[in-house]
C-alpha cells in the first residue's frame, strides 16, 4: 500500500505544473467556501449577540391580554407569580429581566415611524445594554461629518427619556435633547400619548436595531395604562444557547401545571402577532413561550440568503473543479496506460490500479483542500485583526454589525475539509475504475 501511495505522490510531483494549477483551483474554491461560511457564521453569531441584548432573551415568557375579543395587548398580568414559576423552573438561568412591550408611533416635528418598543429597568439591564456604543453625529445627521457623541443610555435610569438607534433618529430627524411623542393605544384600546426626550442615540447594529427602542418601564406602564404588577415579557438568559429547546419545553410544562393558558407556538416576534391574536375569539390572559429564533424570525431570511449563496457557490465551483480533476485523471491515465499495463503484467491487481489512482486524487484533494482551509483561516484572522469598519448602511443592515467580523468555527473547517475531499474522491472514482478495467496486453501496446 505504501508503494502505491509513493507512486501516486511521485506522479503528482512529476506533473507539477498540472498538479499546481488544479490544486490551486481546489484550494481557491476551498478558501472561498471557508470565508463564506465564516461570514454566515459571523452574521449568525452577531445576530444572536445583538438580538439577545436588544430584543429577546434566549427563552421568553410573554403573552397577550384580551379584555375583549377584538383586543390584543402584549401584557402579562400578575407578573410576580409568573416570575416565581420561571425562577423555579429555570434555576440555571444567568439572568431574568422583564420588559414592558409596546407597539406604537414615535412622532417628531419632522416625521413619524411605527415601531416596537421596550420599557426597561436600566438597573437590571446594565449588563445587557450598558455596552452599546453611542452613534456619532454623522451617523444620524444628514451632511454632518462630526464624530461627536452625545447623551448616555444610563439616562434611562430616570423616567422621561427615550433611546433611539441612528437609523431611527435619522428618519425622525432628531438629535439628543429633542422631544418626541409616543402615541399608542392602551391595552384597553384607547389612544394615549407621552412626550419623551431623546437621551441617547446608539450606533446601528444591523436590521435588528431598526426594531428596537428603549424607554423607562414606568413611562411604558403609564402610556399603556398598566398596573404595577404587570409586564410585557420575561427574558431568560441561559449559560449555553444549546439548552434553549429543553428549557422552552420545561417552561411550557411548568406553566401549564401552574394553570396558565398558553398560546400555540407561533415562531414570530410579538409585534407580528397583534392582528392574529385580535382575530382570535378567546379573551383573558394567555402566555406565549418563545425563543430567540422566534423573536428574530423576521431576520432569518438574511441568514437563508447567505446560506443559499454559499451552497450555490460551493456547488458550482465544486462542479467545475471536479470536472477539472476528472479531466486531469483521464490525462494521467492516458499518459500512463503503458505503465499501467506493465504494472498489471508484473502482478498488480485491478484493485491495486484503482487504489493507486484514488490515492493520487486523495493526495491532491487533501493537500489542496487543506491548503485552502489554511488560507481561509488566515484570511479570516487577517480580516478580524484589521477590524474593517463598514460605512455603508446597507451592509451594516445585512451584516448586523458595524465592522466586518468573520467566525471560522472548527466544526465548519472540519466539515469543509471532509466534504470537499470526499466529493473530489467520488469524482475520481470513475476514471480510476476505468483504469483498473484495462487489459494488461492492450495497455502495454498502447501507443500514446
Amino acid at each position: 500500500m505504501k508503494q502505491l501511495l509513493r507512486i501516486a505522490f511521485r506522479n503528482l510531483f512529476s506533473h507539477r505544473g498540472r498538479t499546481l494549477v488544479l490544486g490551486g483551483a481546489i484550494a481557491l474554491v476551498t478558501t472561498l467556501v471557508v470565508v463564506m461560511l465564516a461570514l454566515t457564521s459571523g452574521i449568525r453569531t452577531r445576530m444572536i449577540q445583538n438580538a439577545t441584548a436588544l430584543s429577546t432573551g434566549h427563552v421568553n415568557v410573554g403573552g397577550f391580554l384580551k379584555i375583549s375579543q377584538s383586543s390584543s395587548a402584549p401584557v402579562v398580568n400578575h407578573a410576580a407569580k409568573v416570575r416565581e414559576v420561571i425562577v423555579k423552573t429555570v434555576p440555571e438561568a444567568t439572568l431574568i429581566v422583564d420588559r414592558v412591550r409596546a407597539w406604537g408611533k414615535i412622532i417628531s416635528d419632522e416625521n413619524s415611524v411605527m415601531l416596537p418598543m421596550s420599557g426597561i429597568n436600566m438597573e437590571s439591564e446594565r449588563s445587557l445594554l450598558g455596552g452599546l456604543s453611542l452613534a456619532e453625529e454623522r451617523d444620524y445627521i444628514e451632511g454632518s461629518k462630526s464624530s461627536a457623541v452625545h447623551g448616555s443610555i444610563m439616562e434611562l435610569e430616570k423616567t422621561g427619556g427615550i433611546v433611539l438607534f441612528a437609523s431611527q433618529a435619522k428618519k425622525l430627524k432628531v438629535r439628543v435633547g429633542d422631544m418626541v411623542t409616543i402615541s399608542m393605544p392602551t391595552y384597553r384600546n384607547t389612544y394615549n400619548t407621552i412626550d419623551l426626550r431623546v437621551v441617547a442615540i446608539l450606533k446601528n447594529l444591523g436590521m435588528i436595531s431598526s426594531f428596537s427602542v428603549f424607554f423607562h418601564h414606568k413611562d411604558a406602564r403609564t402610556v399603556y395604562d398598566m398596573a404595577e404588577d404587570t409586564t410585557g415579557v420575561f427574558q431568560i438568559y441561559l449559560p449555553d444557547i444549546a439548552q434553549v429547546p429543553a428549557v422552552e419545553e420545561r417552561l411550557r410544562q411548568s406553566l401549564k401545571a401552574a394553570n396558565y393558558a398558553l398560546m400555540d407556538k407561533d415562531p414570530n416576534p410579538f409585534w407580528m402577532k397583534f392582528e392574529r391574536v385580535a382575530g382570535e375569539s378567546w379573551s383573558g390572559q394567555r402566555l406565549d413561550v418563545t425563543d430567540w429564533q422566534d423573536e428574530t424570525s423576521f431576520l432569518k431570511w438574511i441568514l437563508d440568503i447567505f446560506g443559499a449563496l454559499t451552497f450555490v457557490l460551493t456547488l458550482t465551483l465544486m462542479f467545475i473543479v471536479t470536472i477539472g480533476l476528472i479531466n486531469n485523471m483521464w490525462m494521467s491515465i492516458r499518459e500512463r496506460t503503458p505503465e499501467i499495463g506493465t504494472m498489471r503484467a508484473i502482478g498488480l491487481q485491478r484493485r491495486g490500479v484503482m487504489v493507486m489512482f484514488l490515492f493520487e486524487s486523495l493526495q491532491l484533494a487533501a493537500l489542496s483542500v487543506g491548503a485552502g482551509v489554511l488560507a481561509g483561516v488566515l484570511i479570516v484572522s487577517a480580516v478580524n485583526a484589521l477590524d474593517v469598519q463598514i460605512s455603508s448602511e446597507a451592509f451594516v443592515m445585512f451584516l448586523m454589525s458595524n465592522s466586518l467580523w468573520l467566525n471560522a468555527r472548527p466544526v465548519d473547517l472540519a466539515m469543509v475539509f471532509l466534504v470537499l475531499t470526499l466529493l473530489l474522491m467520488i469524482g475520481a472514482f470513475i476514471p480510476a475504475y476505468r483504469a483498473s478495467k484495462m487489459k494488461p496486453i492492450t495497455a502495454i501496446n498502447h501507443v500514446n
Binding site: S68, Q69, T181, N189, T190, N192, A278
Partner: protein, 254 residues
C-alpha cells in the same frame, strides 16, 4: 310633543345662559337624537387623505347603517386598488375584509378606516351620551357662530378611541361645529370641523335627521396631515334585510 317642547325649552335656555349639568347632559342627548335615524341609512363617502410630503389620496366608499341593530358597513369602491375592501360591524365587533387575500380580520375601535385618519365613529350613529359624561366648559365663538363648549369624558368601562373630547356645539341649531379629541394623557390628537350639515326626513323616525355633509379632520400630532370626508347621496330608505353579512361584502368584492 312633550319631548319636543322640552327640547325647545332647553334650546331656548341654552342660547341664553351657561348650562347646568343636567342641561348639558340633555344637550348632548339632543345632539345624538338629531343625528339618529331609527331605520336604515345609506350614503356615499369621499375621503381625501393628505399626508405631509406625500401626494393626497382620494377614496370613495359606500356606507350602510342599520342603527336599530347597531350594524354598519363601509365598502370601498375607489381607487381600484382599494375597491372591494370592506368593514362590517356586527355584534359589537368590527371586521375588515381584504379582497386581495380573501380574509376577514377583526379590528379594534381605534382602527383607521382604509388607512386614513378617519375612524368608524366618523361614519356611524352618534352615541356621545351613551359613551361619555358631559361637563359644560362655557360659551365660545367659532367664526360667526356662537357655541357651547362641552367637555366629554369616557364613561368607565366603555371602549372608545379617545377618552377626552371637547365639543363646540352651535347654540342656534345644536349641531357640532368642532370636535377636539385628546388622548388619555390629555394631549390633543385630532381636531374635526363640521362646516356643513344637511337634514333629511326619515320615515322610520318620522322626523328630520341631521347629517354632517362635510368633516375636516386635522391631525394635531403629525401636523400637516389632514382628512376631508364628504358624505353625499344620503338615503334613509330601507335596505335589503340580508345586507349586513360577510357574504354580501365578499360578493361585492368579486
Amino acid at each position: 310633543m312633550k319631548k319636543i317642547l322640552a327640547l325647545a325649552l332647553i334650546s331656548a335656555v341654552a342660547q341664553a345662559a351657561p348650562l347646568n349639568p343636567q342641561q348639558t347632559a340633555e344637550l348632548i342627548k339632543l345632539v345624538d337624537d338629531r343625528q339618529r335615524n331609527s331605520g336604515d341609512y345609506q350614503s356615499v363617502a369621499y375621503i381625501r387623505e393628505t399626508e405631509k410630503k406625500k401626494e393626497p389620496k382620494v377614496f370613495q366608499a359606500v356606507v350602510y347603517r342599520r342603527d336599530a341593530d347597531d350594524k354598519f358597513i363601509i365598502l370601498f369602491t375607489k381607487p381600484k386598488e382599494e375597491a372591494g375592501k370592506g368593514y362590517l360591524k356586527i355584534d359589537k365587533n368590527l371586521w375588515m375584509f381584504d379582497p386581495s387575500t380573501g380574509k376577514w380580520e377583526r379590528k379594534t375601535e381605534r382602527e383607521k378606516i382604509g388607512g386614513t385618519n378617519s375612524r368608524r365613529e366618523d361614519f356611524d350613529e352618534s352615541r356621545l351620551s351613551e359613551d361619555y359624561d358631559a361637563t359644560y366648559e362655557g360659551e365660545g365663538e367659532l367664526g360667526k357662530f356662537k357655541a357651547h363648549k362641552v367637555r366629554l369624558t369616557a364613561k368607565a368601562g366603555v371602549k372608545v378611541a379617545f377618552e377626552n373630547l371637547l365639543l363646540w356645539i352651535d347654540q342656534a341649531d345644536k349641531n357640532i361645529l368642532k370636535r377636539e379629541e385628546s388622548s388619555k394623557s390629555g394631549k390633543l390628537m385630532r381636531t374635526a370641523f363640521y362646516p356643513r350639515w344637511i337634514k333629511k326626513f326619515s320615515s322610520s323616525k318620522k322626523a328630520d335627521v341631521w347629517i354632517p355633509e362635510e368633516i375636516r379632520i386635522f391631525d394635531e400630532i403629525e401636523k400637516g396631515n389632514s382628512t376631508v370626508v364628504l358624505i353625499k347621496e344620503t338615503d334613509l330608505s330601507s335596505l335589503d334585510a340580508n345586507l349586513f353579512t360577510k357574504a354580501w361584502i365578499e360578493s361585492k368584492s368579486k
